[in-house]
C-alpha cells in the first residue's frame, strides 16, 4: 500500500523550513532527496568499516570490499545486467558518458557518423562533439516536434552504414519526454551502430531492463535515485566493454606493471582506476533497495497522478504555457507565464520556500527550438503531494501578481 505520509517521514530534509516557510522541494530532476535509510548506511560506513577496498588483507578492508561488491550486484540485478562486471562504478552520468566517448576515440574514423537527439542535456552533447573533433566523425541530430517528441521518420533517414553510435536520453531532463528507446535501439542495431542511453532522468521513475532493451550502454547517477552525489554507473555489454580501452590509468586497474609495459586488469577494474567512492557505491545499492521496497510500479502510478494534477492546476493560470507536451512523459513540468522571465518567478517562489529550477536546464538547444531564454521547471518525486502542488499554485499566482 503506497502511503505518501509514511514515505515522507523517511526524508528528514522535508521537515525543514526555507525562508521561514515549510520547504516544498520540486527540483527533483536536478537531484533527489535522501531517505534516512540511505543516510544511515553512509553513517554506518564511516562509523564502522571505512577502509580501502580490494587490497587490504585486514578485516575492515574485507568488510568494505564485500559491501561495495554486494552493492554492485544489487545494481546489476536492478538493471538486469547479465554479469556484475558489466556494471562500472563511475562518478555519475557525465563521467560515464565521457568514459564511453573517450573509449570510442580509437574505434572511429573520418566518415563515421554519430547521432544524438535534439532533446539532449549538454552532458550528452559536448562529449560527442569532442569525440567528433578528435576523430573526424560527424555529428547528426534527430529533430523534435513542437510537443517535444523526437521525429522518428527523420531518425530513420539519418541512419546509414556509416552510423557507428547513437546517443539518446531515456527521458528528457528539460521537458520530461519519454523517448521510444526500444525503437531507436532496434533501428540503430539494424545498421550495426551501438547505442548509449542516458538514464539520468529515467532511473528515478522506472526500472530499465538492459537485456530486454538490448541496449549497448546505459548510464545513470545515484543522486537522482535517492542516493548520494558523486557516484553513478555505466552499464556496458561485456563485448563492448572489452573493446573499449581503459579511460584513466592508476592503481586498481592494472594486472601487472613494469616500467616497460603494463597489462590491464579485467572488467570491471579496467575502468575503475584509483580509490573509488566506496561509501557512495554502497549507498547507491541502499538507495536502490529503498526504491525497490516501495516499488517502481507504485512510484510511477503515484507520480503520474501528481503530473496530471499539477498540469491541470497550472493550465488554469492565464497565459501559462507548458513546454513539453509529449504523450509519453514523466513528472516534469516545464513552463513560462506570459513574458515574465523564469528567473523572476523562481526568485519569488524561493522566498516562499518553494524550490524549482529555472533557466535552460543545461539543454540550450531545446530552449533555442522554442525561442525562449529558459523555463521554470517543477519536477515531482514520489514523496511530493497534491497539497504541495496546491501551495505551489497559490505561491505562483502571488509571484505573477507581484511581477505583472
Amino acid at each position: 500500500m503506497f502511503d505518501v505520509q509514511k514515505i515522507r517521514k523517511d526524508f528528514p530534509i522535508l521537515n525543514r523550513k526555507v525562508n521561514g516557510k515549510p520547504l516544498i522541494y520540486f527540483d527533483n530532476a536536478a537531484t533527489s532527496q535522501t531517505p534516512q535509510q540511505v543516510i544511515d548506511v553512509i553513517v554506518d560506513y564511516y562509523t564502522n568499516y571505512n577502509a580501502n577496498i580490494h587490497r587490504g588483507v585486514h578485516s575492515l578492508s574485507q568488510e568494505a570490499t564485500d559491501a561495495y561488491e554486494q552493492a554492485r550486484i544489487k545494481i546489476q540485478k536492478h538493471f538486469n545486467a547479465k554479469q556484475p562486471y558489466e556494471i562500472i562504478y563511475t562518478a555519475g552520468t557525465t563521467h560515464s558518458i565521457n568514459l564511453v566517448a573517450n573509449g570510442f576515440t580509437s574505434l572511429l574514423q573520418k566518415g563515421d557518423e554519430i547521432i544524438v537527439s535534439a532533446l539532449e542535456h549538454h552532458s550528452n552533447i559536448v562529449p560527442w562533439q569532442m569525440l567528433c573533433a578528435r576523430t573526424g566523425a560527424e555529428l547528426k541530430v534527430i529533430p523534435m516536434n513542437e510537443d517535444g517528441e523526437l521525429i522518428l521518420s527523420d531518425f530513420d533517414e539519418l541512419l546509414n552504414k556509416n552510423t557507428k553510435l547513437v546517443f539518446v536520453n531515456h527521458i528528457s531532463n528539460a521537458l520530461g519526454t519519454i523517448n521510444p528507446i526500444e525503437y531507436i535501439i532496434e533501428k540503430a542495431h539494424s545498421v550495426g551502430a551501438a547505442v548509449l542511453v542516458d538514464g539520468a532522468q529515467s532511473c528515478p521513475h522506472l526500472k530499465p531492463d538492459v537485456q530486454a532493451l538490448d541496449v549497448d550502454f546505459y548510464v545513470c547517477s545515484a543522486h537522482k535515485i535517492c542516493g548520494p552525489t558523486g557516484v553513478g554507473m555505466l552499464y556496458g555489454k561485456e563485448e563492448w566493454l572489452n573493446k573499449l580501452p581503459p579511460y584513466q590509468g592508476g592503481g586498481e586497474m592494472i594486472a601487472e606493471v613494469t616500467f616497460e609495459k603494463t597489462t590491464y586488469a579485467g572488467l570491471p577494474h579496467k575502468f575503475e582506476a584509483g580509490t573509488p567512492n566506496i561509501c557512495g557505491g554502497i549507498a547507491f545499492g541502499a538507495a536502490l533497495d529503498y526504491m525497490n521496497r516501495i516499488g517502481f510500479e507504485q512510484i510511477a502510478k503515484y507520480e503520474n497522478e501528481l503530473l496530471a494534477y499539477g498540469t491541470e492546476q497550472l493550465l488554469k493560470i492565464e497565459a501559462l504555457k507548458i513546454y513539453g507536451t509529449a504523450k509519453e512523459k514523466t513528472s516534469v513540468i516545464s513552463f513560462n507565464v506570459g513574458s515574465i522571465h523564469p528567473y523572476d518567478i523562481g526568485t519569488i517562489l524561493d522566498k516562499m520556500g518553494i524550490a524549482v529550477r529555472t533557466g535552460h536546464h543545461c539543454a540550450q538547444p531545446i530552449m533555442d527550438f522554442y525561442k525562449i531564454p529558459g523555463t521554470i521547471r517543477a519536477s515531482f518525486m514520489f514523496y511530493n503531494t497534491k497539497e504541495e502542488i496546491d501551495t505551489f499554485i497559490v505561491a505562483l499566482k502571488k509571484a505573477i501578481m507581484m511581477l505583472s
Binding site: 525562508n19 522571465h341 528567473y343 523572476d344 519569488i348 531564454p373 507581484m402
Partner: protein, 140 residues
C-alpha cells in the same frame, strides 16, 4: 553625493520595509522604472557573463565621471542593477574602484551575493568596476 551617501540613503529606504515582499516589490518597481539602455548598446559585447538572465551594461564618461545605463530581460535583475547604477553612476572612476558593497547585506539582498551560477550581482559589480578600471587608465 558620494557613493557612501547614496548607499546610506538606500539603506534608509530599505529599512522601512517590513518583510521580503515589500523589499521585492520595491525592487520590481525600481526595475520597471530603470531608464532603458539605448538599443544600439544591447550587443553581445555588453552582456554580462554569469547571469541567468541577460544583462547589458553600457558606460560612458563625461567630465571625469562615469555614467552607466543597463537593461535586463528579468525584472528583479533590473531592480538590482537599478540600485547599483544609482550607487555608482555619476562618480569618479577611482571612487567606484574604492567603494565597498557592504550595503547589499544591509538592505537584505545578501542572498544575491551567493556564488550560485544563476546569480548575477557579483558579476554585475565586477563589470561596473571593470569599466571604472578602464576609464581610470584613460585618465592617468
Amino acid at each position: 553625493m558620494t557613493i557612501e551617501e547614496v548607499q546610506n540613503e538606500i539603506i534608509e529606504e530599505f529599512s522601512m520595509f517590513e518583510d521580503w515582499e515589500e523589499r521585492y516589490q520595491y525592487m520590481i518597481d525600481l526595475g520597471k522604472d530603470l531608464p532603458l539602455i539605448e538599443e544600439k548598446y544591447k550587443t553581445e559585447d555588453n552582456i554580462i557573463k554569469g547571469c541567468q538572465s541577460r544583462v547589458w551594461v553600457h558606460a560612458n564618461m563625461e567630465d571625469d565621471k562615469i555614467n552607466f545605463s543597463a537593461d535586463s530581460d528579468a525584472i528583479i535583475t533590473k531592480g538590482i542593477i537599478a540600485i547599483l547604477i544609482r550607487v555608482f553612476s555619476n562618480q569618479h572612476p577611482k571612487a567606484i574602484l574604492d567603494a565597498n558593497t557592504d550595503f547589499i547585506d544591509k538592505i537584505g539582498l545578501k542572498e544575491h551575493l551567493s556564488p550560485t551560477r544563476a546569480n548575477g550581482l557579483v558579476s554585475m559589480i565586477k563589470q561596473l568596476k571593470m569599466y571604472a578600471i578602464a576609464y581610470q587608465t584613460q585618465l592617468s
